[in-house]
Symmetry: C2
Subunit: 368 residues, 2 copies
């Protein structure tokens, strides 16, 4: 099981500087986890990810279950060997993708049945299956299967979904066999503060090595995202890591660190890169814009990444307009570098008691 | 202008070990030039190409002329700066792509008129234009504009096309303004040995710093390719580099080195890689085949490239089947490494008087 150490707290906000040590290595938090859906961070080699300072990545259980299949990955030595990544891997439970990607998802107390979005094959996924698949993958941090419902659902529906989420968390805990890996629970509760608090309390009683905040970044307002994050983080134990699932944009990271979150994951840096969107400290940059056609400047003159040290906006735009793979690569390197540097700056700011000033300066320079 | 040195000749075949020094650097020959159509080797960074030992690449004048335009590239400091490559760049004349890609190509003594394959815009390209565009790009080795006709044309048509090719070579020579760069002529003549010999003689009289053999690898039989290469190479001066355009497959490289060729270019290593096809010393490997599904071996167990040192056939197949960009990257690294190693082995074999044995062994192991 992982070891978690609280190194420093911000005297003004809820921001905290911690260290999580899993069986696969050390993770300094606050930290961002890039997403490798199919066992690869899109467009990147694992060595490039290490060079960029990534210490933990996320892989999607739903996708790996469908292709190439968890038994094949187990047979080939687990996901670390398969994808040549020996640092920490966190896997989700598959639940979120079942509800967002698959067809005909139907839920009952036993689990979820659904049809693959690839070929329509029908599957049934229980809390027990989810852990079995994640253990086959060799995940270092597994997530419990949870019951997701629309964030616009009424309080009674949300309460019932949370009851099931807690019951399933307990069932996941029972069949979790290899305790060198972690199993983390997920706080749900829609946009109802009391339900989220109750859920956090119930899960804490079950004593997991870490907790996620789920059911957010699914279309709710930014105010709701921030409030639900505050409420959920505030109801979780101080001495355990807190992971906000599927978040997010740079401004979300800064704001949710201020609310006590340690870990984040999101497809934004990699997906936006493939769409020609670069993150800079002044906001987003859409490289296809005509004004960059003959612009000899680096995409971000303040950036020290491989793209910005060696290539111009005009060249990146040229690559993007011609559909060159190198465009996706260079933009992904830049965006991952941006997210890693942002998290590193956040950590330094907390260490030096400067987080409130850092937050203020970042948000005033960053145009959303 | 470049300097060319003949270091060693094979006592049995026509193979030769030479050194070409352009204004941008040293090229040991026989050598293979990867193709960077749009000013990027597809899926690769220039640094990766350097690490793989590439000393010269080809860029396509036709493509760069259409997008982003040669004047823009000139304004941004030339192609070397634009794409961050300070080693040698050879550019073709654009003629081949005009005939193979564009619409409504019409030829007259003044040049070729054609419609862009991208948006139908009409252009006229003369020998003078071709050199102007290549000089704007900052090419280290420019090629003359030649008149291409179907390899099945009759002798009279071929003879007339060759006359025009020689006349255009002379016009290119006249407007070639910066002699720190090279301008090379192209031997044409279809499948007629005497016409090719006459063309080579006429071009040699004009005294270019290098010569290409063109109009091959366009659908003719392998026997014809080899015979026309022999005839053309044999009619060219010993003390000048010989470049066989658009060739080719590994077996073609070995066989055409034996016929006196120094330089090659082809999209095969990069394009095949994106289609999941790997080159090995035993022949081609199609990674999507079901037999590789659970194969834990490196793609080529004898290979020392980044792919083969770190990943399995099963993983590469998984990436390929899911359309991951990393599949194209890893396969391209492998194939470029294969071509670079093959050329390096050919050079060593010539140096040690072992080329005939190398050729025999290579061809008996390599299943076409």
């Amino acid at each position: 099981m992982s070891h978690f150490e609280l190194l420093k707290t911000c005297p003004t906000t809820k921001a905290r500087r911690c260290r999580l040590v899993t069986r696969a290595g050390v993770i300094e938090t606050p930290q961002f986890m890039p997403v490798g859906t199919y066992g690869a961070i899109k467009a990147m080699t694992p060595d490039e990810m290490m060079e960029l300072g990534s210490t933990v990545i996320l892989a999607n259980t739903y996708h790996m279950f469908l292709r190439p299949g968890h038994e094949l990955v187990r047979q080939l030595g687990g996901l670390h060997t398969f994808m040549h990544w020996n640092r920490t891997i966190l896997t989700d439970s598959g639940g979120f993708q079942i509800f967002s990607l698959s067809d005909f998802a139907k839920i009952s107390d036993t689990g979820v049945s659904f049809a693959s979005h690839l070929d329509g094959t029908r599957f049934h996924f229980s809390p027990e299956n989810s852990i079995e698949v994640q253990e086959a993958l060799g995940s270092d941090i597994m997530m419990v299967l949870d019951h997701l419902i629309a964030s616009t659902s009424d309080a009674d529906s949300v309460r019932r979904a949370v009851e099931r989420t807690v019951a399933w968390a307990e069932r996941c805990r029972v069949c979790w066999s290899d305790h060198s890996a972690d199993l983390w629970a997920i706080v749900q509760g829609g946009l109802f503060p009391e339900i989220r608090e109750a859920c956090a309390r119930d899960l804490t009683r079950l004593d997991f090595p870490g907790y996620a905040i789920g059911g957010l970044a699914v279309g709710e307002s930014t105010e709701d995202l921030y409030e639900m994050t505050s409420v959920s983080a505030g109801a979780l134990p101080e001495n355990k890591p807190r992971y906000l699932m599927g978040v997010g944009l740079p401004e979300n990271l800064v704001e949710c660190v201020a609310r006590g979150v340690d870990l984040f994951d999101c497809v934004v840096p990699t997906r936006h890169a493939r769409n020609g969107m670069l993150f800079t400290r002044n906001g987003k940059m859409v490289i296809k814009q005509a004004r960059y056609r003959d612009d000899a400047q680096p995409p971000d003159p303040d950036c020290t990444c491989y793209l910005c040290k060696n290539f111009s906006r005009a060249y990146l735009r040229h690559l993007y307009m011609n559909g060159e793979i190198l465009s996706a690569r260079l933009a992904t390197i830049h965006n991952i570098h941006f997210f890693m540097t942002l998290m590193s700056d956040i950590r330094k700011a907390i260490e030096t008691d400067n987080f409130p000033a850092f937050r203020r300066n970042f948000l005033s320079a960053y145009i959303v």
